[in-house]
């Protein structure tokens, strides 16, 4: 290492360590990680969740994300090292010294790289110091270890800085332009984002991990299924993909650096090498500077005499207006033509097209690119750039004349002061609107490219108009800041602080939009309901902030700097002098409007409606549990019969309910206490319980207790009649009620009807939230062994099976629906009435819906059962209605053949708006969200037809849920959800074949394994599942599929049928999972009994992989395949700590060939597939197959839970080659 190198290096370092940029960004980055570790208001790359705040996994994630964000800063260091001498003109001083080029470049680059690393070290210190802060929950802080920091810096951060540093050093050296370098950064990011979106799906993750230059995908791949325990203690192994990724990209970095050093030129002029260099040169502004205009001297004598033609001049106010438009045009075009804007538009288009083109919904199946989804996409991946554009160009526009030193000329011209101010705000507005228009056009392009021709420009205009408003207002604020601060960077800083304060306020539960500038309630567009009732609140809030913005405009006008006066004393004097005439009028109007509308908003949000901040909601949940959980196991009279007149007024968003329960004392002693619970928003018009009997009344939580004067004798019944009104008045600040809407009302009895039992569903779930409110760890569900708890089913605590009748009415243009069969339909005035009666007892779980639907009707087995199938759908969403009907029919086929008869004679599927995205099964009635299934694009038979699958799942609930219902103990949801999953899988397998199952189950496996990592309390074995979706859906699918694979579909179905026979429609105590396990144990062969324990009673995982696979051809033309596999069996506890188990299981071993399919695509053929008993870690198989083998492996169809499912099979190669 030469002395010159050391000197240059030292000099570069000194430059950095004395630069405010270094310390400023280092401090800022350190504060960011400090914030992320010490509070939940700051989240970087996803929240910390349930893991310890300084867990190795968290350190890795934080530093990995920050090292990517840091590129915007570190580029300044490396590009500075490459450009500084040329900018300052000192390059000739350097290159005239006797010094090797390598010393110069190496020293500069190494110095800037160390500086970049320094920023990241400060960033690490933020985590380290943060983890010692006294206010943190000690339980969530682990020991301080050097390992994770060193790993993150050495494996992720430094190689990333090396790669990006080398790339942008090279670009800066070749282009000699800051602008080109930063355009390069943006293009690099655009490419990175698009690539990561394209490779986001499970099926491309290995390629994605290779191609991610930052190594984050490789880390994710290695850690995606980590449990909390692993995240708290482990680091990913530096091997395999991660190692190769790091080597690959560090190598690329070094290569680029070498190339850049070799071709570096020490002169300042045009580059002499390479097409790229010349191209960059052509783009760069230096070229224009170098090519000067020809010198034209002023020739005194030959010129014409000084005669300027006369011209009239006009200084009228009408002329001022046209001056304004003249200035507006110039300012706007100036922004349109500026390179950063063009780059951001291009980047936005890339990003939008990329994310819109690969929007899969679930299981890799696409949805139709309807405009509503495109608008979501524009919001998600395009609009964020407007934050940058508004902030940046507010500064650029306000400072345009001054930064170019034209201001002294233009400020002295006879132009009214309001012209530059308003033309700049106007230009910013036009820029915002053009940017959004580009977004709309791009989105329509994506729609057309996917063959979707139902374009809705008017909806784009409306949707983007709504998006635009907050940016138009923010533009005024940004200009105001720039004017007031009168320093560009202070203005930027003010804007950034404003943006940060918005998020911080939200995280501190300061939710009211009366004090959050340009904020208005979030809106969801639904094809069914449009923007619905959201528009009213939106309009008022925005009008309110528009008035405020008018005040800002006045403020900016008064303090607008004209000339070079920046002293506050003089600016104030000037402002006073300017404050007259129209400005005074505008200020008065703005102020009056602001206060008046503010009052009107307050009246609506806080008087007509209750303003409940998020923390108050949590507080209520906590109080509910603290005060009333003691009544959990109370024996109360139970509902046995319900009848209700439900009048829905969709346009007014009002429901009137007049109902009557029949309550029965099912206990063996007299009961006199009734616990009545109602949503506090429900207005009680009449109640048959005398107010004098009321001994407790809690309006805030909606809980009252009545003591009957004469106790209800065992077996006796009483009536409970009620008249209720639910009405949405005016508009709210947040949590707008989406159950009562103009088109697509959907609510269930649990929301508005009186309830008579403690509801565990209202308890706080998150462990950390519970600690905050002093609650003990949650008992999510009663223990399996709790006999008492099984007096209730898990759906309702105040009823068993009830008789149900209802009359539902709605406006004349809509249909109203509820469970039961339509007995009568009539009109009265401008209202439609429907009478529904259920002919047999059902669970106390009913829904009411009203909408303008199209209806498609069909009949299943008209000859025998004659079950009516009806789909009620939005006329624009007819795409998959036939698939749904087909699925319902095939489900009925399978379930009636294998389980039991269908208890109803009708299946109805009802579309509701996308405010929620689930489907839910009520008796003979299945509400189904417009966002799942109705717009799925399942035309490609290769894709997984989840419309078919979801429909089958919901139909299956008519058995699993509405025939068999589990008690309110652990495992209850296995008996409905897991069995519905299994049933739907079987219908789907029959329709699409076993090959499709493998792909489907791969998603289920992925979801299950990821769900484990996000577990907040404890993972339970399936039979003790505590309403954990990733277990009862995802693991449920895997478990029952594996079970039918082991004992046979027929055997399992017979067992299920027997189970239904034993427990369907039972009265308390309700069934629980051991009942089903008992039957399964009886039908399972003795040798497979251990499987039941693995699947249901424990958390069992496998680690299976194929290690070698070769074939040799035998003389008879058959192939001998030699396959070596490794197998391990593991057991995990609820926190994910694993231990190895002895292995003795039957596991699939398979060999596959390939052939040309009908459509010319390659298809897989099964050459061999059989279960083998495996009881050693390493096993070798010799198999003989007929065809030429292509792949072989152990558990090749991924039936077992294995965290690395991709290595189960491998290519078979010819032996000896």
């Amino acid at each position: 290492m030469s002395r010159n190198f050391r000197e240059i290096f030292r000099f570069e370092l000194k430059q950095t360590f004395t630069s405010p940029l270094f310390w400023g960004t280092g401090l800022f980055f350190g504060l960011m990680t400090f914030g992320a570790v010490t509070s939940d208001s700051v989240s970087i790359g996803g929240g910390i969740g349930n893991v310890q705040r300084n867990a190795p996994f968290v350190i890795l994630q934080l530093l990995s994300v920050m090292s990517v964000i840091a590129i915007f800063v570190t580029t300044a260091f490396v590009a500075g090292a490459a450009l500084r001498d040329f900018e300052r003109g000192t390059h000739e001083l350097f290159f005239s010294k006797p010094m090797a080029k390598l010393d110069y470049l190496g020293g500069r680059f190494a110095g800037s790289l160390v500086a970049s690393t320094g920023v990241m070290v400060l960033c690490s210190l933020g985590i380290l110091i943060g983890s010692y802060m006294p206010w943190l929950d000690a339980e969530r802080i682990g020991p301080t270890l050097a390992g994770p920091y060193l790993f993150a810096l050495g494996v992720l951060v430094i190689p990333n800085l090396l790669l990006t540093g080398a790339l942008f050093f090279a670009l800066a050296a070749a282009s000699r332009s800051w602008l080109v370098t930063y355009v390069g950064v943006v293009v690099f990011f655009a490419g990175f984002f698009v690539a990561s979106l394209l490779l986001a799906d499970v099926e491309h993750q290995t390629l994605g991990a290779w191609l991610d230059p930052f190594g984050a995908s490789a880390v994710n791949l290695a850690t995606r299924y980590w449990t909390v325990a692993e995240k708290n203690t482990a680091l990913p192994p530096l091997s395999g993909l991660l190692l190769w990724n790091r080597l690959l990209w560090s190598g690329v970095g070094l290569g680029v650096l070498a190339l850049s050093f070799a071709t570096f030129r020490t002169s300042a002029g045009a580059p002499t090498y390479g097409a790229l260099g010349r191209l960059l040169w052509r783009l760069s502004w230096r070229r224009k500077k170098a090519e000067e205009a020809p010198e034209v001297p002023l020739e005194g004598r030959d010129l014409p005499p000084f005669a300027i033609p006369p011209a009239t001049r006009d200084f009228s106010s009408r002329r001022s207006r046209s001056l304004f438009f003249h200035a507006l045009r110039r300012e706007t075009i100036g922004v349109w033509k500026s390179i950063p804007f063009v780059v951001m538009v291009a980047f936005g288009m890339f990003n939008l097209a990329g994310s819109a083109a690969v929007r899969f919904e679930r299981f890799g199946t696409k949805v139709y690119p309807v405009t509503a989804l495109m608008l979501d996409n524009i919001e998600g991946s395009f609009v964020f750039l407007l934050v940058i554009i508004v902030t940046l160009y507010a500064g650029e526009l306000v400072w345009r004349e001054r930064s170019l030193k034209v201001a002294e000329v233009t400020d002295a011209m006879p132009v009214p002061t309001w012209v530059p101010l308003l033309s700049k705000i106007g230009a910013l507005w036009i820029v915002i609107l053009t940017f959004l228009t580009v977004g709309a056009l791009t989105a329509m392009g994506v729609q057309l490219s996917q063959g979707f021709i139902h374009l809705e420009p008017a909806l784009y205009a409306k949707g983007l108009g709504i998006v635009a408003v907050r940016f138009l207002l923010a533009a005024v604020l940004a200009v105001f800041f720039q004017v007031l601060c009168n320093q560009k960077f202070v203005g930027y800083l003010a804007m950034i602080l404003f943006l940060i304060s918005q998020t911080v306020l939200a995280s501190m539960n300061f939710d009211h939009r009366l004090y959050r500038f340009a904020d208005s309630p979030t809106m969801t567009y639904s094809d069914m309901n449009g923007y619905g009732h959201f528009l009213e609140g939106f309009a008022w809030f925005n009008l309110y902030w528009a008035c405020f913005a008018a005040l800002l405009v006045v403020g900016a006008a008064l303090f607008w700097v004209r000339g070079s006066e920046s002293v506050w004393r003089l600016r104030l004097r000037q402002a006073k002098a300017r404050f007259r005439g129209p400005w005074r009028a505008l200020a008065a109007a703005g102020l009056v409007g602001w206060v008046a509308i503010g009052g009107w908003i307050f009246w609506n949000t806080n008087v007509l409606n209750a303003y409940v901040p998020t923390d108050e909601l949590e507080h209520r949940q906590a109080d509910y549990e603290k005060q009333y959980r003691k009544y959990k196991s109370l024996v109360a009279p139970r509902i046995v019969d319900a009848e209700a007149n439900v009048d829905i007024f969709p346009h007014e968003r009002r429901v009137e309910i007049a109902g009557r329960y029949i309550l029965k004392n099912k206990s063996n002693r007299p009961e006199s206490t009734i616990h009545l619970q109602l949503d506090p928003r429900v207005k009680v018009r009449r109640l048959s319980l005398d107010p004098k009997w009321r001994t407790h009344f809690d309006q805030r939580l909606g809980y009252s207790i009545y003591e009957l004067p004469t106790p209800l004798a065992p077996g006796a019944t009483m009536d409970l009649a009620f008249e209720l009104t639910v009405e949405e008045k005016g508009f709210v600040n947040q949590n707008s009620n989406t159950s009562l809407v103009d088109n697509g009302t959907f609510f269930n009895n649990g929301q508005y009807f009186p309830a008579l039992a403690y509801d565990e569903g209202r308890q706080l779930q998150d462990r950390n939230d519970r600690r905050k409110y002093g609650l003990p760890p949650v008992e999510r569900m009663a223990k399996l062994e709790d006999q008492n708890a099984r007096r209730n089913n898990y759906l309702s605590g105040d009823a068993d099976w009830i008789s149900f009748r209802t009359t539902v009415s709605t406006s004349a243009d809509q249909i109203a629906l509820a469970p039961g069969y339509l007995k009568r339909e009539w009109r009265e005035g401008n209202r439609r009435y429907f009478r529904y009666e259920m002919d047999r007892p059902i669970l106390n779980f009913v829904s009411f819906l009203s909408a303008r639907w199209a209806v498609k009707k069909d009949v299943w087995h008209p000859d025998r059962e004659n079950v009516a199938i009806e789909v009620y759908y939005d006329p624009a969403h007819a795409y998959n209605v036939d698939r749904m009907i087909d699925s319902a029919k095939k489900s009925l086929d399978y379930f009636t053949a294998h389980f039991s008869p269908y208890q109803h004679h009708q299946v109805r599927i009802l579309e509701f708006p996308r405010y929620a995205s689930f489907a839910q099964s009520f008796p003979n009635t299945i509400p189904y969200s417009e966002s799942i299934g109705f717009i799925a694009d399942v035309r490609d038979r290769e894709d997984i037809d989840y419309v078919f699958y979801v429909t089958a799942h919901e139909v299956a609930h008519q058995w699993w849920g509405h025939q068999v219902i589990g008690g309110a103990v652990q495992g209850g949801t296995m008996l409905s959800e897991s069995l519905a999953q299994y049933s739907a899988l079987m219908v789907m397998q029959k329709e699409y074949g076993k090959e499709k199952m493998r792909r489907f189950l791969k998603y289920e496996l992925d979801q299950y394994l990821q769900g484990r990592g996000g577990e907040l309390v404890e993972e339970m074995p399936l039979m003790r599942v505590e309403n954990q979706p990733y277990i009862h859906y995802r693991k449920g699918s895997l478990v029952f599929y594996a079970l039918q694979d082991a004992i046979g579909e027929e055997t399992l179905n017979r067992a299920l049928s027997r189970y239904i026979g034993e427990v369907a429609y039972q009265e308390p105590p309700y069934t629980y999972t051991p009942d089903l396990l008992k039957i399964l144990r009886e039908v399972t062969p003795a040798g497979e009994q251990g499987l039941l324990a693995d699947l249901f009673e424990t958390i069992t995982l496998y680690d299976l992989r194929a290690t070698t696979a070769t074939w040799t051809r035998r003389a008879d033309g058959k192939y001998r395949v030699k396959l070596e596999v490794e197998a391990k069996k593991l057991r995990a506890d609820g926190r994910g700590v694993e231990s190895t188990l002895p292995l003795d299981d039957s596991i699939d071993v398979g060999v596959f060939g390939s052939r040309q399919g009908k459509d010319g695509k390659k298809e897989e053929t099964v050459l061999y597939l059989a279960k083998h008993r495996i009881n050693r870690e390493k096993t070798t198989f010799e198999l003989v197959v007929d065809g030429k083998p292509s792949e072989a492996g152990i558990d090749p169809l991924n039936k077992l839970v294995d965290r690395t499912s991709d290595d189960n099979r491998m290519k078979v190669t010819e032996a000896g080659t």
Binding site: K288, K289, E291, E292, A293, P294, E295, V296, P297, L298, E299, G300, L303, P304, P305, F306, A307, I308, P309, P310, A311, T312, R313, D314, F315, R319, S322, L323, H326, R330, L404, K405, V406, E408, V409, T410, D411, A412, M413, P414, V415, P416, R562, G563, S564, E565, V567, L570, R573, Q574
Partner: protein
């Protein structure tokens, strides 16, 4: 026409840029001489409505400049000392833009004016070139062209000749000299020759204070018989600097010629010489410097 009364301005950092400046400027070319930092630009910017004085009044042709800035701007043509241009815009486009801002609403008339101005400044040939590619002299001519739009009654040009080569400078001054006679033209400069060549009236500003004002002939006459010159050797120079009031020293053929101020013949071989404006200028600066020293000492 232009009447400046008791104008004072002190900046936030304590620098007194203008101290009780009063000045009457009639129509015609007016030279404002002063070294860098004398307060020239502050005065110019205040006249051009771009700065606020602490006290004082300015009236121009019946306009109270400080309270009715907009009225003054309608008759003002201003070429700032160090002005920039939009580098990517052509000369014609920008001049047209400025003409719009100056109230030339009629497009046909405006184009004619722009053409005439570009022709007169000999920029018509390069009217489509981007301004970023102009040389310093061309840019300065563009600057005067924009200042002359709309027949201004008050033209303020602040240090227009700085950085121009001698020939370019001469032509530029000729151009200024041709502007109409009923117009007040204030030319601020630190080059004495600029004023000598073409200003019928002038003033010298130093340390924020007005030192001398009047017709050049008059002020030169004030020093008649008080300027002496001598050729000295380099080693002798230091002694003369301390013993005499040396106004200027100039190299001529390797020897140094010095001018000194003295009310009577200083002897030592000094010869009398007719004073010129440069002597007046340096004499004024020395006096201003001496006053400042006394002020500090007191």
């Amino acid at each position: 026409m232009l009447s400046i009364r008791n104008l004072s301005k002190t900046y936030g950092n304590g620098v007194r840029a203008l101290v009780d400046v009063s000045l009457e400027v009639p129509a015609g070319m007016f030279g404002l001489l002063g070294p860098n930092g004398a307060g020239k630009s502050t005065l110019m910017r205040t006249l051009a409505t771009l700065q606020e004085p602490d006290s004082g009044t300015i009236r121009f042709d019946g306009i109270d400049v400080l309270s009715d800035k907009q009225a003054l701007r309608q008759v003002l043509g201003y070429l700032p000392q160090d002005f920039g241009v939009y580098p990517k815009v052509s000369a014609e486009t920008l001049l047209d833009h400025f003409a719009v801002l100056k109230g030339l609403a009629n497009g046909r008339e405006r184009r004619a004016v722009v053409k005439a101005l570009l022709e007169r400044t000999n920029l018509w040939a390069v009217k489509d070139q981007k301004l970023g590619t102009f040389s310093g002299g061309m840019r300065q001519r563009f600057g005067i062209a924009q200042a002359l739009i709309g027949e201004p009654k008050l033209v303020i040009v602040d240090e227009p000749t700085a950085g121009l080569d001698p020939e370019e400078r001469n032509r530029f001054l000729n151009l200024l000299a041709e502007i109409g006679e009923n117009v007040v033209i204030i030319l601020s400069t630190h080059i004495v020759a600029d004023v000598t060549d073409l200003c019928p009236r002038m003033a010298i500003l130093a340390g924020g204070e007005l030192q001398v004002s009047g017709e050049p002939r008059q002020v030169i006459a004030g020093l008649e018989g008080q300027i002496w010159w001598k050729t000295v050797t380099r080693p002798e120079l230091a002694r003369y600097e301390t013993e005499f009031e040396v106004l200027s020293r100039r190299l001529a053929a390797g020897r140094t010629v010095i001018h000194v101020w003295s009310e009577s013949d200083p002897g030592e071989g000094f010869e009398g010489i007719a004073p010129d404006l440069e002597d007046v200028y340096f004499h004024a600066l020395r006096q201003a410097g001496r006053r400042a020293e006394t002020a500090l000492a007191a």
